[in-house]
């Protein structure tokens, strides 16, 4: 019988009909939307953009990991060089059979680790040794499997060294030798001897990057998940063989280094010579990614405030995974290009201008229906309004200039944003957020200068000390200089002027200092408490009434200048004309697809079917049972009224009462028995559906009872 059901269970259509369809994804891209305007071009742009962004993220990752990897390589080199040079020391170390071990603390964002390890093993293979083995806990339930994996990967990884060796490798693996440490050391001996004796010159030339007698590096990707016994056995066994081949372990740790001592007893951990390495925190990683991907004009695609907020929330409250953040970013790109026909213009400025010229009439209509464009039209004089709404060519012209404006807006925006960020990070309590992404969100959403936080930030800025202010101004000047925008030359000049004026203040402030010093002296004189209080009060009075010093005047001026910059350049993106072309703003879809709440959906469907089935008869108050609702909803609601156990008979009766309240309008129906049967059947179906959904389970506590499994709202 089993066979019969295998066929039923899994069946495959078109087994060998590998029709390499000329289908391209573009078809799917265009099928969804009715107005399939420029779908091909749109899709190509989307793919290109994603490719660029993806390579950019990889580059970022590489750069961030560089420091860590350098340290690791240095560590490997050291443990290796001791073998080479200080033979005696190595000998004594071998006597104690300690295995050099790098503990790599990677943080809780497990999903990002794979990438790190992948690039790590690549780097090691390029620079240190061909013998790099990565092991995962799920592959190694026992020590036997672990050794098998280890041998298997080692046999594979020296393929590039020599062709003759390769054959031998195949032989070895074909024989399926018993995987033991002894055979491993034999293998290592043969490999190193061969390379040493046969082709010393060749080796030096071909793989000079690798050291002689390269170490075997074993990476335990997720150390916490390994069973203790496997780890212990492996370490003990390999410590016995450490004098035969240089072995280095790398532990990937997600929690804290303490876990090593918790997993391994002292007798085992004493066999290791552990050095700790800390990888970059995921928050810094995210900050860099946001900085390089979002706060730049390099990529035309932008996220709106809400979308960015959703992605950041998923990062902060769910997984700390940069990988997932990028995935969300990818999804938003796809969604944007899929749903917005005008996204065809979401490309580099020059290209976009070209594309504007070839827009179809429909696309022009699409532009006209954009809310931001409508706002723009309304602000124009009437003749221009008519021209914009009727002449496609004129519209295209205007669109080109508008796109350019948008581009310039972004250029200015990011520079001023960074500048403002320099100011706000120096403030106590960070009223506008510590990270630039928070500031970005605040500015994107609404006019930042209207918010209370901005008010208080400006208040605090007016109290900055001089040296702080000077340092900040210098930083700002650097930012403006490095920005490509020409329009900031004035700003830079202004900033430099401020800096110069601060310098000139030095002399004047010395006088002020004199005054304060004298008052200080006075303070020191008075020893009597009463007098002290009096003088202090007098001092305060004098300070309050005193006219603003020159420094304070200048400080006000600087803050006002910054304020004016913010007001002119950090206008919210939604106000910009044509922002819909480059901004993706349906945060809801993103949240639905990435961070769904299936239980809530089930609950709403059961409790309030009207949400899905727009039928007037289903409209009902909360908590009431509508007679016409689908069976499963009625059964579900009845079950909510029960305790831990539910009597099926009572349930059935209640169900039939509710159902017949509608249908029983003709009690004279002859087929009463029949109806009852049908209701019974419907009840059975609904109950088994609830069981499938996991709301109830059969119980053996009492006959014909089921146990309820959920409590509370859902």
């Amino acid at each position: 019988t089993a066979v019969r059901f295998v066929n039923k269970k899994c069946y495959i259509r078109a087994r060998f009909v590998y029709i390499y369809l000329s289908f391209c994804l573009t078809d799917y891209f265009s099928q969804g939307k009715n107005d399939s305007e420029d779908s091909g071009l749109r899709f190509a742009t989307c793919q290109l953009l994603w490719k660029q962004i993806n390579s950019e993220t990889e580059k970022i990752q590489e750069e961030l990991n560089k420091q860590l990897f350098d340290n690791l390589i240095h560590f490997l080199r050291q443990s290796h060089s001791e073998l080479q040079t200080k033979k005696t020391e190595w000998m004594c170390r071998m006597k104690s059979s300690e295995i050099p071990t790098a503990a790599l603390v990677l943080g809780v964002n497990v999903t990002d680790h794979d990438m790190t390890f992948k690039s790590l093993s690549e780097v090691l293979q390029d620079n240190v040794t061909p013998y790099v083995v990565s092991l995962q806990a799920k592959e190694c339930p026992g020590i036997k499997h672990l050794l098998q994996k280890l041998m298997g990967q080692l046999m594979d990884c020296n393929v590039d060294v020599d062709s003759s060796e390769e054959e031998e490798c195949v032989n070895i693996s074909q024989k399926k030798i018993r995987c033991s440490m002894a055979s491993l050391s034999k293998w290592y001996e043969s490999v190193t001897k061969k390379t040493d004796s046969e082709t010393p010159s060749k080796k030096r030339t071909s793989s000079s990057r690798h050291w002689q007698s390269p170490p075997i590096v074993v990476i335990f990707k997720d150390m916490e998940s390994f069973t203790t016994k496997v780890l212990q056995d492996f370490i003990v066994i390999s410590s016995q063989h450490i004098r035969e081949f240089p072995l280095v372990l790398i532990f990937g740790i997600a929690t804290s280094p303490m876990i090593i001592h918790r997993l391994l007893p002292h007798s085992v951990s004493s066999l290791l010579c552990i050095e700790l390495f800390q990888s970059l925190s995921c928050k810094e990683h995210l900050a860099t990614v946001i900085d390089k991907l979002l706060l730049t004009t390099q990529f035309p695609f932008k996220l709106s405030e809400k979308v960015l907020q959703v992605l950041i929330n998923i990062f902060l409250y769910h997984d700390f995974s940069v990988q997932n953040f990028i995935k969300g970013f990818q999804l938003s790109i796809v969604e944007h290009f899929y749903s917005q026909p005008l996204s065809v213009l979401c490309c580099q400025l020059l290209e976009a201008k070209k594309r504007v010229n070839s827009l179809s009439h429909n696309q022009c209509e699409n532009i006209r229906s954009l809310p931001s464009f409508r706002r723009y039209v309304e602000s124009q004089v009437s003749e221009k309004q008519i021209a914009l709404l009727t002449e496609d060519s004129f519209l295209k012209e205007v669109t080109q200039t508008l796109l350019e404006d948008l581009h310039i807006y972004h250029e200015n925006y990011f520079t001023v944003l960074r500048c403002l960020h320099v100011f706000t990070t120096s403030l106590p309590k960070y009223p506008l957020g510590k990270q630039i992404r928070e500031l970005h969100c605040a500015c994107l959403g609404k006019s930042v200068w209207e918010t209370e936080e901005y008010e208080s930030a400006i208040q605090l800025l007016r109290m900055l000390a001089k040296d702080e202010l000077v340092a900040i101004l210098q930083k700002c000047a650097e930012i403006f200089i490095s920005s490509s925008g020409k329009q900031f030359s004035n700003t830079v000049e202004k900033l430099e002027e401020f800096l110069a004026r601060f310098q000139n203040l030095e002399a004047e402030t010395s006088e002020v200092q004199d005054v304060s010093v004298s008052s200080q002296k006075e303070l020191q004189k008075t020893t009597d408490l009463y007098h002290l209080q009096k003088t202090l009060l007098a001092l305060k009075e004098s300070k309050r009434s005193k006219k603003l010093t020159k420094f304070e005047m200048l400080r006000f001026e600087v803050v006002d200048f910054i304020d004016s910059l913010v007001r002119s350049y950090l206008a919210p993106a939604e106000m910009q004309t044509l922002n819909e072309v480059v901004y993706f703003n349906t945060a809801n879809t993103l949240r639905e697809h990435l961070n769904a709440a299936p239980r809530i959906a089930l609950h709403t469907a059961l409790n309030n079917p009207y949400c899905y089935l727009k039928n007037q008869t289903l409209k009902s108050d909360v908590g009431c049972i509508s007679n016409t609702a689908p069976d499963i909803c009625i059964v579900y609601k009845l079950h909510l009224e029960c305790g831990r156990l539910i009597n099926l008979v009572d349930w059935l009766e209640a169900f039939s009462t509710v159902v017949t309240a509608v249908e029983g309008t003709d009690p004279d129906a002859v087929a009463t028995d029949q109806v009852d049967e049908i209701i019974h059947a419907r009840f059975i179906r609904a109950v088994s559906e609830l069981e499938l959904l996991g709301f109830i389970k059969p119980s053996k506590q009492k006959t014909d009872h089921v146990a309820r499994l959920t409590w509370g709202g859902c």
């Binding site: 019988t1 089993a2 295998v6 039923k8 269970k9 899994c10 495959i12 259509r13 078109a14 087994r15 009909v17 590998y18 390499y20 994804l25 078809d27 799917y28 969804g32 799920k138 997984d319 990988q323 997932n324 995935k327 999804l331 697809h593 990435l594 961070n595 769904a596 299936p598 089930l602 899905y612 039928n615 908590g623 016409t628 499963i632 009224e641 305790g643 539910i646 009597n647 009572d650 059935l652 209640a654 009462t657 017949t660 029983g664 009690p667 009463t672 029949q674 019974h680 419907r682 059975i684 109950v687 088994s688 499938l692 996991g694 059969p698 506590q701 009492k702 014909d704 409590w711 509370g712």
Partner: protein, 542 residues
């Protein structure tokens, strides 16, 4: 019978409409009221005693109030006992409850004693199950609600008493019982609905602890057997369900059309490396089927019915290696198999496979190892996974690592369509297992055996059926069995019998169990009906 049914329905109709009246009627009824009071009395006593025991720093005023209550209830109690002592009053109570039939005095007095017992029992139940919290709520609740609450317990006890009647008295009383029962049901079910509405938001958490605070649960003892509802088998169930009128067809169609408009988007996202998971109420099988037939006709795809009770990851992997990769050979472990699949798919980028899994969260696939393997499959860029989940806790299957391997995109596809296929395999409580599956497997296996072996099995089956009414039947001991087989000239040595038994055991036809005395007992793990059918069939063949 049909006449009776009709009458019952009519009675139900009338009383259901006059729901409030029924309530009033019950509460007006002296007998019920007394019961209610007594129930409260019990509770009060309990509370009082508890207070005394605790000697906590409770309000004195509160205590006095309690005491007053106690006294008041004591009075009621006296009245109640008085009532209980006069059988005449009880008779009137009975007749008022069943106005249609004047019950004869001896019968009802007998019944009265029964009911008294039942009452006591029910009170005991209540005593155990109520918690102080619940009690306080009940006492402070508005009178109407407390009425209905105690009504509920009253109706419970009533039912118990009736159940006893059922055993003790004749069918006449059985007929009597029906109206009261049907009346009790709406009363007991409707009122909590109101309560729920009021307290829905306030005590979601408390609800849980309340339900789990005591080990005993108060439910009525009625069983399906007494309802004289025969268990339906799958076939009749389907037939009956087909007769039921479909509802909301237009709305359902609209829902489905909404989902179907997403098909091309799914395809796009599948190709961009995402996997798609569908959730929401209603069977998503038809939707996925439609997706398959409309978009996947020309590509290689594998459909996995996860809800099938004997599906394993291994069988999925096997079908990939055998059918898609044309690899004939066995694997030591699923991990090896997975390695091969991953290698092949990585090497050959032109290879593409669509994997459709109905019910990824089914019992057989929800294990950690299965999910790990499926996740790794899904992580391959040229395997495109689209799956559906239904269980409310399904997302708990995946940790961060698995989720990132799957790379899910969630789509809510609430269809409201019945889970016909999905639940047909479930050993539902109410559905009678037809046993056709077991029967066919029995005949299949036995046909491939020697006549002697068949004889051995028949012997065991007969013995099994002879003892079917013996609840303590441990099975046939091996020695005994050997003796019988020898007598029937079926085997000549213990060894041959053992060889036969191994064969049976491999096909799960028999099970061995060691008794307390160390003797090996043989059992047939097939239900008696199937076994009888089988023997009949066998006898026909011979």
């Amino acid at each position: 019978m049909s006449q009776l049914e009709l009458k019952r329905n009519k009675a139900l109709e009338a009383r259901f409409v006059a729901d409030e009246d029924v309530l009033k009627h019950i509460s007006d009824n002296g007998g019920v009221k007394v019961r209610k009071d007594r129930a409260q009395l019990e509770l009060n006593i309990k509370r009082f005693v508890k207070k005394l025991e605790n000697i906590s720093d409770d309000d004195e005023a509160q205590e006095i109030l309690e005491e007053q209550n106690y006294v008041a209830v004591l009075g009621a109690c006296a009245e109640a006992s008085e009532l209980a002592q006069t059988p005449g009053k009880n008779v009137t109570f009975e007749s008022s409850q069943y106005p249609e039939k004047p019950a004869s005095t001896p019968k009802s007095s007998k019944k009265y004693s029964a009911s008294n017992k039942a009452e006591l029992k029910s009170k005991k139940n209540e005593f155990v199950s109520t918690t102080p919290y619940r009690l306080r709520k009940r006492l402070t609740a508005p009178s109407l609600r407390s009425d209905s609450e105690s009504d509920y317990s009253a109706s419970c006890s009533e039912e118990e008493e009736e159940d006893k009647d059922h055993k003790e008295t004749s069918d006449v009383i059985l007929d009597q019982k029906t109206p009261s029962k049907t009346r009790a049901a709406p009363a007991s079910k409707k009122t909590p609905a109101k309560k729920l509405k009021e307290e829905m938001t306030s005590n979601l958490v408390e609800e849980y602890f309340e339900a789990h605070s005591s080990s005993k649960v108060r439910t009525s003892d009625r069983t399906l057997q007494k309802l004289q509802k025969r268990k339906l088998d799958q076939q009749t169930l389907l037939v009956l369900l087909n007769k039921a009128p479909p509802a909301f067809t237009a709305e359902l169609k609209e829902l489905n059309q909404q989902h179907e408009s997403l098909f091309s988007k799914w395809m796009l996202q599948l190709h961009l490396g995402f996997s798609i998971v569908l959730y929401g109420l209603g069977s998503k099988r038809d939707l996925l089927e439609k997706f398959r037939t409309s978009l996947l006709q020309d590509s290689v795809h594998l459909v996995v019915n996860g809800f099938f009770p004997s599906i394993t990851v291994r069988s999925i992997l096997n079908s990939i290696t055998e059918e898609v990769l044309d690899h004939m050979g066995t694997f030591r472990s699923p991990l090896d198999q997975l390695d091969l699949i991953m290698k092949r798919f990585k090497e050959d980028s032109s290879l593409e496979l669509y994997l459709l899994i109905h019910n990824l969260d089914s019992k057989m696939l929800r294990g950690d190892k299965s999910q790990q393997i499926l996740a790794q499959l899904a992580s391959l860029p040229n395997i495109h996974l689209i799956a559906s989940i239904d269980h409310i806790n399904a997302p708990l299957m995946w940790d961060q690592a698995k989720q990132s391997l799957y790379n899910w995109l969630w789509y809510e596809t609430t269809t409201f369509s019945p889970y016909l296929e999905e639940t047909s395999y479930e050993n539902s409580l109410l559905v009678q297992q037809s046993g056709s599956l077991a029967l066919s497997s029995l005949t299949h296996v036995l046909h491939s055996l020697t006549p002697n072996a068949r004889g051995i099995f028949r012997l065991l089956a007969r013995y099994h059926l002879e003892n079917k009414d013996n609840p303590s039947y441990p099975g046939l001991s091996f020695q005994d069995f050997y003796q019988r087989c020898r007598e029937a000239f079926l085997v000549n040595s213990e060894l041959t019998l053992r060889a036969q038994l191994t064969e049976f055991r491999d096909h799960k036809l028999i099970r061995t169990k060691r008794g307390t005395d160390g003797v090996e007992y043989l059992l047939i793990p097939v239900d008696n009906g199937t076994l009888t059918d089988f023997l009949e069939k066998e006898d026909e063949d011979i």
